[in-house]
Symmetry: C2
Subunit: 230 residues, 2 copies
């Protein structure tokens, strides 16, 4: 078995969930200064999307993006921690949305229901990002750096949100009880599978339906026998 690790040993408790809603800098609008900062950020994201889409991910340098956004490369790295973070700029918000959705779905009858309900509720918000998500999927298909970032950062971050919510709800210690982590891992795998199907269809299929079917089939993995078919 591979070796892994606490990922971030001290996970915050759900008590912090409600208080965290306001930690989204680009939604608060202090004044001209922060407005300009957000404009710069947006220009960078737009420039990156454009260049990634036309030239490909690897072929685009961070200097290219910075110049297209008419800022110094140094400025790019003051807004984004990495080249990959540019592509997944919207995902930090989505993670906080997931946190809220998990809290809102806390009343469900079982943990798996909470998770499914929360993830499905997110999809409504996501319909608007169709183009961007197709781009992300297409680039992840062709660049190991992108798919690696997705797994290592985005997916891991989402799993952590679920682990906190689930273990809080079950009143278990996620360092002792593996079940929250397993459920979170299964849920994210279901999301990946749904996204793969959706992407393969070029975005034409109904994503919500695919996701729902995929998430529902988590229940079946215990009884997969040779006889079974789709």
């Amino acid at each position: 078995m591979p070796s892994e690790v606490p990922e971030e040993a001290a996970v915050s408790t759900a008590a912090t969930v409600a208080a965290a809603v306001d930690s989204r800098p680009h939604l608060v609008d202090g004044g001209r200064r922060s407005r300009k900062k957000q404009q710069t950020r947006q220009r960078l994201v737009d420039a990156a999307d454009e260049l990634f889409a036309t030239q490909g991910y690897e072929a685009t340098t961070t200097t290219d993006v910075a110049e297209a956004a008419d800022v110094a490369q140094r400025t790019l790295f003051r807004h984004f921690a990495s080249k990959e973070a540019l592509l997944y700029a919207d995902m930090e918000d989505a993670r906080l949305d997931l946190r809220d959705a998990l809290a809102a779905a806390g009343g469900a009858s079982s943990a798996i229901h909470t998770v499914i309900q929360a993830l499905l509720s997110l999809e409504a918000n996501f319909a608007e990002h169709r183009e961007r998500r197709l781009l992300q999927a297409r680039l992840a298909a062709t660049s190991p750096a992108v798919s690696g970032y997705f797994r290592a950062v985005i997916q891991a971050g989402w799993e952590r949100e679920m682990i906190v919510a689930i273990s809080d709800r079950l009143a278990v210690d996620p360092l002792e009880d593996p079940r929250p982590e397993i459920l979170a891992g299964a849920a994210m795998s279901a999301c990946r599978a749904a996204t793969r199907q959706w992407t393969a269809s070029g975005g034409s299929e109904d994503y919500l339906g695919l996701l729902q079917r995929s998430l529902e089939s988590i229940r079946e993995i215990v009884d997969l026998r040779t006889a079974a078919a789709v």
Copy 2:
């Protein structure tokens, strides 16, 4: 939901499993030339382990490792695709072992049983790598690059092996049916959880027992209710 991707659209079928056993260059021993090459490789791995353990991962440069192994840095990168690959040098072998184990466990009553059986059978072989696995876990805890590599490369590779084996066995298309991927994701999360517990104990607890308990609890994730405790 995050966007992801085929990971490597065309997955090989289980038909290739048997034929792949001999694809481990450092086990075949052609003559003096390949023997020397393997010695160089081993010196690099040993030097890396030593330096990573004493100075830490980030503080060790690839040039440090190369010099400690008395080769050029360029030679290091002819043997290993990345700095992280040095640390997880044994994992490529382990993946092939997993492939064999999955084939061997193919007769189990259900897919989840096949997976559990295969993973548990691997643990026997792994007892010998105790030190190295503790090091890997410790470094993954402190370095995002390491934990990211683990998730993005090692774990993803193992999941692919499981997906191929499971979907072959169920005679389903893994691009259409999400269940093999979900099961694989759940299994790897169980492995991570077990490894985390084992690492937290400093390697003193019985890893096989932890892994078994963790893998068995995959069955329970469907029925997690608030009432339940450990």
